[in-house]
């Protein structure tokens, strides 16, 4: 595991939770990310929108260590250079990621899914002789309540509906107790009603987590009522409150216009 000490939430000493500067990544000549800069303040809830291929997922990949940028710096909590770590380390540093298409461990029960996500030592030996403590149980119960799946705790995750999987995955993120959550299109394939519930859920979580949400769904963004960044062709096109951004002619042209 990484040597970096796990901090409490001393937001005030920290300028930015996540800081991207001049990041570029290209695949076979095609620039997925082009000189992208982004600054997420501690405790912030940030929505990122942009048409397909704007580089949203690639950005996520870079932050979580799945992809290395060609150039540019990616800093976590001011000091930590994320490009030097891999997924597992970054996760342990306190960055949780929810995938675009919900990925839960289908052949395990909801409870097990959450238990695996439960923050704590990730070593092989610990896993072999692991026993749940009382408060850990409570914690799991609490979260499963939070995502509203308590009744189905013992069912296989595979049996959940699309939307429920999304929630379970969010629940798993919370179990990891990250400081920063990257949430990729949580509302995809949800009914309007589910979408609203999800928005509420995220705002709830935002109380003590920093969150970056990527989403197309405008109603959802509205519901979040947060600062919005518009990506286009791998770089920031506009940034600000939704109403401001949506007034921006370029934005309208490349995105909202469609």
């Amino acid at each position: 595991m990484s040597a970096v000490p796990k901090p409490g939430y001393h937001f005030e000493e920290m300028q930015s939770m996540l800081y991207l500067n001049g990041v570029t990544k290209s695949f076979d000549g095609f620039k997925a990310i082009n000189n992208l800069s982004l600054d997420i303040a501690p405790g912030e809830l940030r929505a990122i929108i942009g048409p397909n291929g704007a580089g949203k997922s690639t950005m996520m990949d870079i932050i979580t260590g799945k992809t290395r940028p060609d150039v540019g710096e990616v800093r976590f909590r001011d000091s930590i250079d994320l490009t030097r770590y891999d997924e597992a380390e970054i996760a342990n540093l306190g960055i949780g990621r929810k995938f675009q298409k919900p990925t839960v461990i289908e052949s395990l029960s909801l409870w097990d899914n959450l238990e695996l996500a439960l923050a704590g030592n990730r070593s092989v030996v610990k896993a072999l002789f692991h026993k749940l403590s009382g408060e850990q149980r409570d914690r799991i119960a609490e979260v499963i309540e939070l995502v509203g799946l308590a009744k189905r705790a013992q069912e296989l995750a595979g049996n959940l509906s699309h939307g429920q999987k999304q929630w379970l995955e969010i629940g798993m993120l919370i179990m990891q107790e990250p400081e920063l959550l990257l949430v990729d299109e949580p509302a995809a394939g949800m009914t309007d009603q589910e979408t609203m519930e999800t928005a509420a859920l995220l705002k709830e979580i935002n109380r003590d987590h920093t969150i970056v949400v990527v989403e197309h769904d405008m109603d959802f963004i509205k519901a979040l009522d947060s600062k919005v960044t518009v990506l286009h062709e791998g770089s920031v096109l506009a940034e600000g409150r939704l109403e401001v951004v949506s007034a921006n002619p370029r934005v309208i042209e490349v995105y909202l216009g469609r």
Binding site: A91, V104, I105, L108, E115, L116, A127, L128, H130, Q176
Partner: protein, 386 residues
């Protein structure tokens, strides 16, 4: 009574088997065999029709070794999604370690009466024992090597492969390359492992003649107990949190990474454990069949192991054991009964089982049991509590 009963229930095995009917069956059967087979073979007089001929003892012993091997594979394939097409290599290495010990046991009773060198070295004009044969005259060293050699290979191989995230077919194919390379290497007489003939003409182990029925039965019992032990071990592993991490890796590897688990470490550990089990299986196998040769490395053998597991039912442990025994029994029976056309039947068996029993034999049984359960639950629900 009930006091002892509680003790049993508290014991690790008891706890493990609570939720594992099949496991209880299996262990019961294995222990029963461990008692009965020697009884029917040694105690019952040879002329009685209840007498169990020795060749069947050996045959069943062999099946159990295969069962152990299948168990080892199911642990990594069924629960961690690592499809090794080279598991025969670990089996063979364990076998060779044991074979080398048995070879040294022959001592000066070889045809050339050379105390130092095995016969095949003598008539190929080897003058002295190669260094890697040192120590194998010591039983405990040899047993140590039985587990260590496969483990070491698995560690190096796994460390490389998992670190650089070689997965899926790529992994399968390079495991195949591994066993193929070893096959070619062991075929070379210059390697000093007896080339194509391998190691054979074994005499005795720890002073007991390998030909005697007594030794045969002991080996059989050992095999049965090893399978039982291995089963309990694997069950313990897969029902721990670690086991669930394995499943997580199998179902959603990158998710598991993003949860902060060092996937490569988890894979490596289980891979090494599995290799050790395979090695032990090989070590038990050799004294019972009386020969170990490079043929065991052949990729086809490794593929067959996969087939045993698939036929039995992947990811159930129990199924691996069933599959190994069923397929090998089928093989023994067909090759005897229909020598001309048995390959048709075996081939058909594989095709059909993949098409119609995707979950293997165990899967079918479970479906049947579920249907039964549903029916029962209608009239007497309390039965289900067990």
């Amino acid at each position: 009574m009930s006091k002892f009963d509680d003790v049993f229930k508290q014991s690790l095995i008891g706890r493990l088997l609570q939720s594992d009917r099949a496991g209880t069956w299996l262990l019961g059967a294995l222990l029963a065999l461990a008692v009965l087979v020697p009884f029917f073979n040694l105690v019952i007089p040879a002329d009685s029709f209840l007498h169990l001929p020795t060749y069947l003892v050996v045959l069943m012993g062999k099946y159990l070794c295969y069962a152990l091997l299948a168990l080892a594979l199911d642990l990594i394939w069924g629960y961690c999604g690592i499809l090794s097409l080279g598991h025969g290599a670990f089996f063979a290495l364990g076998g060779y370690a044991m074979g080398m010990h048995l070879m040294r046991q022959i001592g000066d009773r070889g045809v050339y009466g050379n105390a130092e060198l095995p016969d095949f070295m003598v008539f190929l004009n080897w003058t002295e024992l190669p260094w890697y044969w040192y120590g194998f005259d010591n039983f405990f060293f040899a047993m140590f090597m039985v587990a260590l050699v496969p483990a070491a290979l698995a560690f190096v191989f796994g460390w490389l492969a998992f670190r650089s995230r070689v997965t899926g077919v790529y992994l399968s194919i390079i495991t195949q390359a591994m066993t193929y390379a070893l096959l070619l290497a062991f075929f070379r007489n210059d390697m000093g492992f007896g080339g194509n003939n391998g190691l054979t003409d074994f005499k005795d182990i720890l002073g007991f003649s390998l030909q005697s029925d007594g030794t045969r039965n002991v080996l059989f019992v050992l095999s049965a107990l090893s399978v039982a032990g291995a089963y309990v071990l694997c069950r313990a592993i897969v029902s721990s949190k670690y086991g669930r991490v394995l499943v997580a890796i199998r179902d959603a590897e990158s998710r598991t990474r993003f949860m902060g688990y060092r996937v490569e470490h988890f894979k490596l550990f289980v891979f090494v454990v599995s290799a050790m089990l395979a090695g032990i299986a090989g070590a038990l196998y050799v004294p019972q069949v009386g020969i170990i040769n490079p043929g065991e490395f052949s990729p086809v053998n490794s593929i067959e192991i996969v087939i045993w597991v698939a036929v039995g039912g992947r990811g159930t442990l129990f199924g691996a054991v069933i599959g190994a025994i069923v397929v090998n029994y089928a093989k023994t029976y067909f090759t005897g009964a229909f020598p001309e056309v048995w390959l048709f039947m075996l081939g058909a068996l594989f095709v059909i089982s993949t098409l119609y029993l995707p979950k293997g034999i165990v899967g079918v049984v479970n479906q049947y049991r579920e249907r039964l359960a549903v029916k029962n639950s209608a009239n007497k629900p309390q039965e289900l509590s067990s």
